[in-house]
């Protein structure tokens, strides 16, 4: 099995009326540190602790997470006042020092 982690983020940002809906799906194991593998060994904790999102470089969302967020985290948030063509960027950092990032332009619905 390939144990490497693909730090990719699937993301979309759609403007509907006044509100831009940003949806994203990240690839991450979100290990709690309690799970036992097939060899009965405890799998070390490995989870995203911090995710930040910006709109045209200005911070809009900061998410602090524990191990209770599901594997391959899913997130939706809403922005008021963003326009089609604006850039939404996200970055996450996990407890093992890994990170992932993505950015996308807002499209009109």
């Amino acid at each position: 099995m390939d144990m490497k982690i693909a730090n990719d983020i699937k993301m979309r940002a759609v403007l509907k009326g006044d509100i831009t809906e940003v949806k994203m799906l990240m690839t991450h194991p979100m290990e709690t540190g309690r799970r036992k593998n097939d060899l009965d060994e405890t799998v070390p904790a490995h989870f995203i602790q911090l995710l930040t999102a910006t709109l045209n470089g200005k911070p809009v969302l900061e998410a602090q997470w524990g191990t209770g967020i599901s594997k391959n985290p899913y997130l939706t948030f809403h922005l008021l006042g963003a326009k089609a063509g604006d850039t939404v960027a996200v970055t996450w950092h996990d407890n093992l020092g890994e990170s992932g990032n993505a950015e996308i332009k807002i499209v009109a619905a």
């Binding site: 930040t52 910006t54 809009v60 602090q64 948030f77």
Partner: protein, 139 residues
């Protein structure tokens, strides 16, 4: 502070995250400790907050939760599940036009209330939604 981190070398990013991440609150094994770690009052009034989550979850590993706050000047939404091994799941902080709304997927150990705690200025409000959990999703 967060945007400034993007300009830092990796080792200081790690240090900055360690300072932002509330270890005491996230590692607490009981709700009271998590609330204290977050500096939330232990008793908070119920507020105009909507939690949408399934009444019944077959698998506690993936429970989709949506939280909307209609409380003016909402700054943050925290999500907690008391009976999870570590009750504090997430805290979301909103700024610059981000609406007090979030959808995410959480792990639940057993049938319990999903709780949301909202901070608005120096006031705190809560809401909860019962979810029946058939399989422990917190391994």
């Amino acid at each position: 502070m967060v945007s400034a981190m993007l300009l830092m070398p990796a080792y200081s990013v790690a240090a900055a995250i360690a300072s932002l991440w509330n270890k005491q609150a996230f590692e607490s094994k009981d709700l009271e400790g998590a609330m204290q770690g977050m500096q939330f009052p232990l008793e908070t009034p119920v507020g105009d907050i909507q939690i949408t989550a399934p009444d019944r979850a077959e698998n506690g590993a993936v429970v989709q939760v949506e939280v909307t706050s209609r409380i003016p000047n909402t700054e943050s939404i925290a999500i907690l599940v008391s009976k999870n091994p570590t009750p504090l799941i997430a805290n979301f902080l909103f700024s610059n036009g981000a609406q007090p709304f979030v959808v995410t997927r959480i792990k639940m150990a057993e049938t319990d209330d999903v709780q949301a705690i909202i901070k608005a200025g120096d006031q705190y409000f809560k809401a909860s939604k019962r979810v029946e959990v058939l399989a422990d999703g917190c391994n």
